[in-house]
């Protein structure tokens, strides 16, 4: 029995030795190593919101995918889409966008994060209404070095305010404090006219004041309040000397705009016969006698892109300046 155990043990030792030898000599000539790789999934922005008015303001929470370049803003006119991209907002941490849809109505938005060719799934949909463009009210006044025009009612916050300041003689025009210049014919032009605008604030004053270095009493100011518009979408101008002042032409960058054509002439007592669908809003004189200036403004609500212009008929011949600005 003991010997049998010895035989078995010896055999086992030999087998072990043989196995060890085989391992040393017969290792396969191919060796492998493996590693796993996984790709990311870009996350959509979260918590979108939309506030309507003359524009629509979108806000959201940035995607948690910190490598994202930014956010795609998509807009549709029906709930559930289809949507079209209207903006790429970057960097990722920018979480607001102001949209100016082409016309009044309700718009639907979704957001996507993007990086290289990657886009995330859509965020939840939000919607808001854009108000229609309309001329709300106007006012005008004649003056000297300072001219103040006063609206009848306090402008509504968010509406667009437009100021057209004109002088018979050369001189600098200084617009209302905090307003933005849309177009200025230049201090040396005679007559001289400049148009300014701003979005009305929460406690907007009814009075609008401009100043000028131009001498004389032939200075004037006419102001307008528009709903549904927030900024300039195009400008144009023209000059001449005749009985038919022109506004120049403008090609708005968006379809829905409120267009104001404004003329100033060094002679005459009134404008009439505005062409191309424009309606006269303001028509008044500043100064008197040989220093009289005729100021007038006409408006048009445009619903498509294209080129717009207008002319009017003056009661007298003289040097005139026209400007046209599209607001949307």
């Amino acid at each position: 029995m003991t010997r049998r155990i010895l035989v078995i043990a010896a055999t086992a030792l030999v087998l072990c030795a043989a196995t060890a030898a085989a391992s040393a000599f017969f290792t396969p000539a191919t060796v492998t190593s493996a590693g796993s790789i996984s790709t990311s999934t870009i996350a959509a922005p979260t918590s979108p919101s939309a506030v309507g008015g003359s524009s629509i303001t979108l806000n959201w929470t940035a995607t948690s995918s910190t490598y994202a370049t930014g956010t795609r803003v998509l807009r549709g006119t029906a709930s559930g889409g289809p949507y079209s991209q209207i903006a790429l907002v970057s960097p990722r941490t920018t979480t607001t966008y102001v949209d100016y849809p082409p016309g009044a109505g309700t718009y639907y938005y979704v957001l996507q994060s993007y990086y290289q060719q990657w886009t995330s799934a859509n965020s939840t949909q939000v919607s808001a209404a854009r108000s229609a463009i309309a001329f709300v009210q106007s006012a005008n006044a004649a003056g000297t070095t300072t001219t103040t025009a006063t609206f009848t009612t306090t402008p509504v916050a968010g509406n667009l305010l437009v100021a057209v300041a004109a002088t018979r003689n050369a001189g600098t025009i200084t617009g209302p404090l905090g307003w933005t210049l849309a177009i200025d014919s230049g201090a040396t032009s005679t007559p001289h006219q400049a148009i300014y605008y701003k979005v009305a604030g929460a406690l907007e004053s009814k009075a609008v004041a401009v100043a000028t270095t131009a001498s004389g009493t032939g200075n004037g100011l006419h102001v307008y309040e528009l709903s549904g518009a927030t900024t300039v979408r195009g400008t144009g101008s023209a000059t001449g000397s005749s009985t038919t002042p022109g506004s120049g032409s403008v090609t708005p960058s968006v379809a829905y705009t409120g267009i104001i054509g404004a003329t100033v002439a060094n002679f005459g007592t009134g404008m009439s016969g505005w062409t191309n669908g424009f309606s006269e809003i303001v028509d008044f004189t500043a100064g008197s006698g040989g220093a009289k200036t005729l100021l007038a403004g006409a408006g048009l609500l445009a619903t498509s892109t294209g080129t717009y212009s207008t002319t009017a008929t003056n009661t007298a011949t003289g040097a005139w300046l026209g400007q046209i600005v599209a607001f949307g």
Binding site: M1, R3, R4, L6, V7, A10, T11, V14, L15, A18, A21, A22, A24, F25, F26, T27, P28, A29, T30, V31, T32, S33, A34, G35, S36, I37, S38, T39, S40, T41, I42, Y67, Y115, Q116, Q117, W118, T119
Partner: protein, 211 residues
């Protein structure tokens, strides 16, 4: 009868041991033939004869000698992955060639799209790669001379020749760096994918010579 067997002579025991050793030897020789079927050697009665071994080894994992096992997650287009690995000829024979075959499981566009999927480059450094960065975002620089031994190509391939390696010589070791690039052209179909890439290094024995 059983009792009698307990007392068998010593010669009987020796014969049994010899038979056992012989059987094991035959078995070992057959195994050797299986692994080295193409080996040839010549010898004479007075010389000892040893069979050659073709053994390719990789560096130890959990060190810069083999980072191929280090996973990479959350890849986005434009990312790169660098992994170092040492390949050594630990056998006693020179190699005719050393090749790399890569496979993926599961197979996805990440590895099947040869244009927008993962792209691979293999570089060799004459000395150890200098490792930087925290795992898994390793990067490597070569303080010696660096050469590209597999030019940019789709990551998956069979029998990619690794030329000019020291490991072709018995006892030689090569310090390799595998760089994978995720192209910026990868589209949405590449999001949320996972795969495991296996790197198989195969050494082929040298041609038989007169020994």
């Amino acid at each position: 009868m059983k009792r009698a067997r307990h007392f068998r002579s010593g010669s009987t025991l020796s014969r049994k041991l010899l038979l056992t050793l012989g059987a094991v030897g035959i078995a070992a020789s057959m195994a050797g033939l299986g692994s080295f079927a193409t080996f040839t050697s010549s010898t004479n009665a007075s010389q000892s004869v040893g069979s050659g071994t073709v053994v390719v080894g990789l560096g130890a994992t959990a060190a810069a000698t083999n980072r191929l096992t280090v996973a990479a997650s959350g890849l986005v287009p434009g990312d790169t992955i660098q992994r170092s690995v040492d390949v050594a000829n630990t056998g006693n024979q020179n190699l005719a060639s050393l090749t790399l075959t890569t496979t993926a499981s599961p197979s996805t566009v990440l590895t099947t799209d040869t244009t927008n999927g993962l792209q691979m480059v293999v570089d060799r450094c004459s000395s150890n790669w200098t490792e930087s960065g925290a795992s898994p975002a390793f990067t490597y620089t070569c303080s010696g001379s660096s050469t590209t031994i597999v030019a940019t190509r789709a990551v998956i391939g069979a029998n990619m020749s690794l030329t000019g390696l020291s490991a072709l010589t018995s006892g030689g070791t090569d310090h390799l760096r595998v760089t994978l690039t995720f192209p910026t052209t990868a589209d949405n179909t590449f999001q949320g994918l996972s795969t495991s890439i296996t790197y198989a290094f195969t050494g082929t024995q040298r041609a038989g010579t007169n020994q």
